[in-house]
Symmetry: C2
Subunit: 267 residues, 2 copies
């Protein structure tokens, strides 16, 4: 039994989809979350910049002496895992490996689609992870740059989201995929629209759910599961608290805990 | 005659609309531009964070000993002008004042619309500037959060942009505006769609054009105009060069000069 927290890092508010699932799966775990809302989004930015920002954020989280760090951001998981692994001496869980594993398990026709930010798709991280697990699986990807700003604007559906979703997804549907990885923390919010566009026969892999399962597995294997009654998560953000709470409500309506502002990267 | 440059600061690539107009109006001026592409966008962020980022950027530009600094970013112009004015001892030209003046001059029915980022609209900066100039003018504003990511994705028109534009603009059209301020550097790229949705009778005020005219006026008044033959602008960005050039081409197809990467705010 330990009271060291699980740390979660995300580029902003999207990682709340992961935090929510972790909190549901492991309600007795202490949880500390950092969203880099001052510098969000990471998705359109270069690997070098994402590594630098992610490094600063994880350094902050290490002050809480976490027993495990989740890189909830798909972009950071795609381009900064090796960089971070060299700097962190506790287990590091990204979203790519668990997502790839779930997709390989789910696909019957061995054709998997991946949607994500520009940086995630460019990195080819899901393709690589899938090929390592099952080299008979074909992967098809498409970047969906408007999905994140749409979710942050509070759009989870409606005609605009539908038209854009159709535009982004049709090339993948055309390849005959039977499984689609929602490769960005914001996308679970758009699940109903995405499912409608793809049709009921396509399995959607939600990173948030698979990561929560992975974390439970890693902690159980290390005998490090905790069960502290009445524990509340602590959220930190690099920009103002109000906006995080406002957008956060679209993602996690009954979000518990406290939100505080911190400043990183100040000269 | 002087060879001190005109400095232009923007949160990213959008300020190229301003740089292009300045270069067209004053082709013999040295020009140095900084786009904070690592931390873009500023629009959804808090005044405190925007001030801090803008301060770091302008500090960098001051190394070039500019004779004038243009704050091309509407968000930074809206929330950081006073903060910057205290730290800079050369003339500082923002986009709000010139845009407000042009709108007041253009409106016949004294009803002006303003579109911009969330931060710009929240700040009420255009309303305030317009009221100061002409208190009989009514102002109506609406934030358009998807316009920037759409332009950065290379969308200048098409069905999605049209539907979104209609959604954002209809509340303003309903107020009977005859003049609309494009209160964000990215928006001139969407001018054709915006004009179509608003109809031919609404005057569009393009900050880029009015700022270029303002800069020429300020420099002429100070006897500081230069005419260096064959001068080429220098662009600096805080994230990778390639993406800036790629998106920049949508905005300024025959962009001259060189682009270099710099790192700001490193601990």
């Amino acid at each position: 039994m330990t009271t060291e927290p699980i740390a979660i890092f995300d580029s902003g508010v999207g990682g709340l989809t992961v935090a929510r699932e972790v909190h549901r799966a492991l309600p007795g775990e202490e949880m500390v979350y950092l969203g880099d809302t001052a510098r969000v989004p990471y998705g359109p930015k270069s690997p070098r910049t994402v590594r630098r920002f992610a490094g600063e954020c994880v350094e902050f989280l290490l002050h809480f002496r976490p027993k495990l760090v989740i890189i909830a951001c798909n972009t950071a998981s795609s381009v900064a895992m090796d960089y971070l692994a060299e700097r962190v001496d506790v287990p590091l869980v990204g979203v790519i490996e668990p997502g790839a594993a779930a997709a390989v398990a789910a696909t019957a026709n061995r054709r998997v689609g991946v949607i994500g930010t520009k940086a995630t798709v460019r990195s080819g991280s899901y393709e690589l992870a899938i090929k390592k697990k099952a080299d008979d699986v074909e992967t098809y990807s498409n970047a969906c740059p408007l999905f994140v700003p749409m979710v942050e604007e509070g759009r989870a559906g409606g005609p605009v989201v539908e038209v854009v979703a159709r535009e982004y997804l049709e090339p993948l549907i055309g390849k005959g995929i039977d499984t689609l990885i929602l490769g960005c923390t914001h996308y679970p919010v758009l699940k109903p629209v995405i499912q409608e566009v793809c049709g009921p026969d396509v399995n959607l892999v939600d990173s948030a759910e698979v990561v929560a399962a992975k974390v439970a597995e890693v902690l159980a294997a290390e005998g490090a599961l905790a069960d502290v009654p009445g524990t509340e998560p602590r959220f930190f953000v690099t920009d103002v608290v109000d906006d995080f709470v406002e957008v956060g409500r679209y993602i996690w309506p009954d979000m518990p805990g406290t939100v505080e502002r911190v400043e990183l990267g100040v000269v």
